[in-house]
């Protein structure tokens, strides 16, 4: 396997996003800003689902950040690059096609890790969050691995959305889904109607997995969330496959 091609592609994908403020700035600042507002200023040490609001929301806003990095990275990135004909050009290079996707996954996970680190810093310094290192590690690993389903879902969006509409489309899907999954305010505090749909939304399951690592959450077994997320991964890949075929058919007839 040509690891150099993979490494280079990943490196430049990351550099590209860092230098493209339209992605890097909202991906990082939104979760941190929201967490400061809801988790630290309003919530702080008040109790929530077996822990404090600041601790609970640290997990859910970290999930929010990781999911956003994945959805925007793939959904918007792929849509724009398809629009620019970048994919067609890349196919003419000796780069292995899979390196393109690999690079985007690594990029999304790297941004996710940065967001988690920032949130942990803010929570510990300002929100009175005190989590043992083992739990922080478990939380981080869970969330970073949890980026995968959202990379797949983002990919599906990227294959169907147009380059100009993709940001709006991802926002329209992501924001209501984040709210109804309990990423912004604890799922236990959502109105019952909203609460009843949260299990059907993928972010809910990542949030519950994350909360599970710090001893909170609604208490369904972790493997059920993993299976559901695997299902959403498969769903995203399947639709992405259809989108890819559609593009091929258009290009080559």
């Amino acid at each position: 396997m040509n690891t150099r091609a993979y490494a280079l592609e990943a490196r430049y994908e990351f550099l590209k996003q860092v230098r493209m403020p339209a992605y890097a700035i909202p991906s990082i600042t939104f979760p941190v800003m929201f967490y400061l507002l809801f988790g630290v200023m309003f919530g702080g040490g008040r109790p929530a689902a077996g822990t404090t609001v600041a601790t609970y929301l640290l997990a859910t806003y970290a999930a929010f950040g990781v999911i956003g990095a994945a959805l925007f990275g793939f959904g918007v990135g792929v849509a724009i690059e398809r629009g620019q004909g970048w994919m067609t050009l890349k196919r003419a290079t000796p780069m292995p096609p899979f390196a393109y996707f690999f690079a985007k996954v690594v990029m999304a996970m790297t941004f996710g890790a940065i967001i988690i680190l920032l949130l942990v810093g803010v929570g510990t310094a300002l929100g009175g969050v005190r989590l043992p290192v083992s739990q922080l590690l478990a939380l981080t690993v869970t969330l970073i691995a949890g980026a995968i389903p959202f990379c797949a879902l983002g990919l599906a969006i990227g294959y169907f959305a147009g380059p100009n509409s993709s940001v709006a489309i991802v926002n329209l899907i992501f924001m209501p889904m984040a709210f109804a999954s309990g990423l912004w305010i604890p799922v236990e505090m959502l109105p019952p109607v909203v609460r009843s749909i949260s299990p059907f939304l993928p972010p809910y399951h990542l949030a519950q997995l994350a909360l599970g690592t710090i001893g909170s959450g609604v208490g369904a077994p972790a493997w059920t969330h993993v299976v559901t997320l695997a299902g959403f991964t498969s769903l995203g890949l399947g639709f992405a496959g259809m989108g890819y075929r559609r593009d091929e058919d258009k290009t080559w007839g």
């Binding site: 019952p192 059907f200 399951h205 369904a220 077994p221 559901t228 299902g231 498969s234 399947g238 075929r245």
Partner: protein, 609 residues
């Protein structure tokens, strides 16, 4: 076309569905594990085991430190473990009575007939909170059953539930439901009981909450992860409760035959039903418990008052439409489609008593089509599952050793549950004593001796025992606890110490210990030959009071003060001073008075003269 993509999408949907089904949030439950078990290590060998659902032919059960450590046919008994023979006997999980009202010594009386847990459906929430706190601290075992309680119920002003003399908050509109339910949960209610009862089935006209309030209260309870159980008396009310999404019904109706699709609707709503056929039988004017009182192995363990209660029934009302046949038909239909049926007695309503009536209920359930095994499940695993009690209700490794050993085979003839050989609660054996005979009780009563507090438990020579009573039932926040202390007055072994604190809040603050001269508590006793209350007291120098409840006084007690000083002192209080005589005496309360702050006093050698 995109066959591969489609297959991946389908796989994804299947995985999502599997994850969602397996990860369904647990149903709302009463939730809390009640009590750390005490120690208790023994084995029962060669016993037929009903494990809560199934029968194991001949097995050995090992109990270690109050929990079940092993169950099975080839379990080896370690050498150091005491062995009980189970030959010809059946071991049952401790029975659970899913509908009681708990006052006075109800929990002791329930356990005496093998009921190790009761699900209370309305009592004084302050008393329920005290019992819960004691349970959590590990108290009350093996002497009494564990309690879960709805506390105060949800009912309309002047509606069913307000007639018992406890002044309870009521609800008038759906908009109050959330705050009302929150207040119950704050008081400690383990689940929410809602009364939807217009009395029509019984030829009465009672104010009831509206259908909208019913729906709002159910929704509020469920949103807070609490079970919402509903009292209904009529088919119409039951239909409404099912439609409103109740978690369970705490009575079955008997005013009409069930509609053909009733059970299907209950099933679709995933509800359970606590039929309480025993109390329905009593309402129809039949004293169905008479058999137990007069000719069962339980009889000798029942007090004369309890036997009298079982030989009685409600007077049959002229306008009542309720029949046991309709109620039985509804239970039969429910059971046929697999609705969880839970055995409940509704004790201490007229015609029913704590503990023993549950054995009658099992018999009535078998007449409604439940097999003996299903009926036993209705008093063990079914309530444990419905109320989320994962530590009891089954004989399985790790569960509490709440056990009843009976002679014979109740899985073939359910009335064999009455042949109780042993009762263990949390692995601790109950020292089960025959109740005093009529003559002995008459003699005890005639002697006038109430309590000298020299034994290991807080007991009385006659009547319904001692209970803490405080102004929490009138919205106050005063507290009291009682315990035996040594030494007692006049060189005796023990005395009853009452400690607590008076907190302003109720119109007439009080907190103390109350003796009930008759059972069930607050029923009148005829003690007309006595003219004085005599007792010893000492304490912190505060002023205390004796409050006498009597039919002659209505609901308002009469009071006389005394001062408990550092040394024991005898007090003699003529009943005349309270404006009563001994006829119709319902309660004698030794209480701290209106002064705020903590208090401590002890009483001893309490008697009538």
């Amino acid at each position: 076309m995109h066959t591969k993509s489609l297959m991946i999408v389908t796989l994804g949907l299947a995985l999502i569905a599997a994850g969602l089904v397996a990860g369904r949030p647990p149903a709302p439950t009463a939730g809390e594990t009640l009590q750390p078990p005490p120690s208790g290590t023994f084995a029962i060998r060669d016993v037929r085991v009903f494990d809560g659902e199934r029968v194991l032919g001949k097995a050995t059960v090992i109990v270690r430190d109050g929990r079940i450590a092993a169950v099975g046919a080839d379990v080896k008994i370690p050498a150091d473990v005491p062995v009980v023979s189970g030959e010809g006997r059946t071991l049952l999980p401790g029975l659970i009575d899913s509908h009681v009202h708990t006052f006075g010594n109800a929990l002791q009386r329930a356990l005496a007939s093998g009921v190790t847990t009761v699900l209370d459906m309305f009592t004084d929430q302050g008393q329920a909170a005290r019992w819960r706190a004691e349970q959590r601290a590990g108290g009350g075992t093996p002497g009494r059953a564990d309690l879960l309680s709805a506390g105060t119920l949800v009912t309309a002003p002047k509606g069913h539930g307000t007639q018992f003399g406890l002044p309870i908050p009521t609800i008038t509109s759906p908009t109050e439901a959330e705050a009302f339910v929150d207040a119950r949960i704050a008081e400690g209610s383990d689940y929410i009981k809602i009364v939807y009862e217009e009395g029509d089935a019984y030829g009465l006209s009672l104010p009831s909450i509206s259908g909208a309030t019913l729906g709002a209260a159910i929704a509020a309870a469920k949103a807070r992860k609490k079970l919402a159980v509903v009292h209904v008396g009529s088919r119409r009310a039951a239909d409404a409760a099912v439609a409103a999404g109740a978690s369970g019904l705490v009575h079955i109706f008997g005013d009409e035959a069930p509609s053909n699709d009733f059970a299907q609707r209950v099933k679709a709503a995933r509800m359970f039903v606590i039929p309480t056929l025993s109390v329905i039988e009593s309402v129809t004017g039949v004293a169905g418990g008479a058999d137990i009182a007069n000719a069962s192995p339980l009889a000798e363990f029942l007090t004369p008052d309890e036997r009298a209660a079982l030989n009685a029934s409600f007077p049959k009302r002229a306008g009542t439409k309720v029949t046991l046949q309709y109620a039985t038909a509804a239970v039969r239909q429910l059971h046929a489609v697999g609705i969880p049926i839970l055995a409940g007695s509704d004790a201490p309503n007229t015609g029913t008593i704590h503990g023993a009536t549950l054995h009658r209920e099992l018999e009535l359930l078998t007449r409604a089509g439940l097999s003996p095994i299903a009926a036993l499940g209705a008093a063990t695993s079914a309530p444990a599952d419905a109320f989320g009690l994962t530590d009891r209700g089954r004989i399985a490794v790790g569960r509490r050793a709440d056990l009843v050993l009976v002679g014979g085979d109740p899985t073939a003839d359910v009335t064999a549950t009455r042949n109780i050989v042993e009762i263990w609660k949390g692995g601790a054996r109950l020292d089960r004593k025959p109740a005093p005979t009529e003559a002995a009780l008459a003699e005890a009563t005639a002697s006038g001796r109430i309590s000298d507090f020299d034994g290991p438990d807080i007991t009385a020579e006659f009547g319904g025992g001692w209970q803490i009573s405080t102004d929490t039932m009138f919205g106050g926040a005063s507290e009291a606890t009682m315990q035996l202390v040594r030494p007692g007055a006049a060189g005796s072994t023990g005395a009853l110490e009452i400690t607590g604190a008076i907190t302003p809040g109720a119109p007439f603050p009080w907190a103390g210990a109350m003796f009930f001269p008759a059972s069930p508590p607050m029923s009148p006793a005829n003690l007309s030959k006595f003219t004085e209350i005599v007792f010893h007291a000492r304490g912190d120098g505060r002023e205390y009071q004796v409050m006498v409840f009597s039919t002659a006084l209505g609901n308002t007690p009469a009071t006389q003060p005394f001062t408990a000083g550092a040394e024991w002192k005898q007090f003699v209080m003529p009943l005349k001073g309270f404006g009563v005589d001994g006829a119709g005496l319902r309660g004698i309360l030794f209480s701290a008075g209106a002064d705020q702050g903590s208090f401590r006093f002890a009483i001893d050698q309490v008697r009538l003269r």
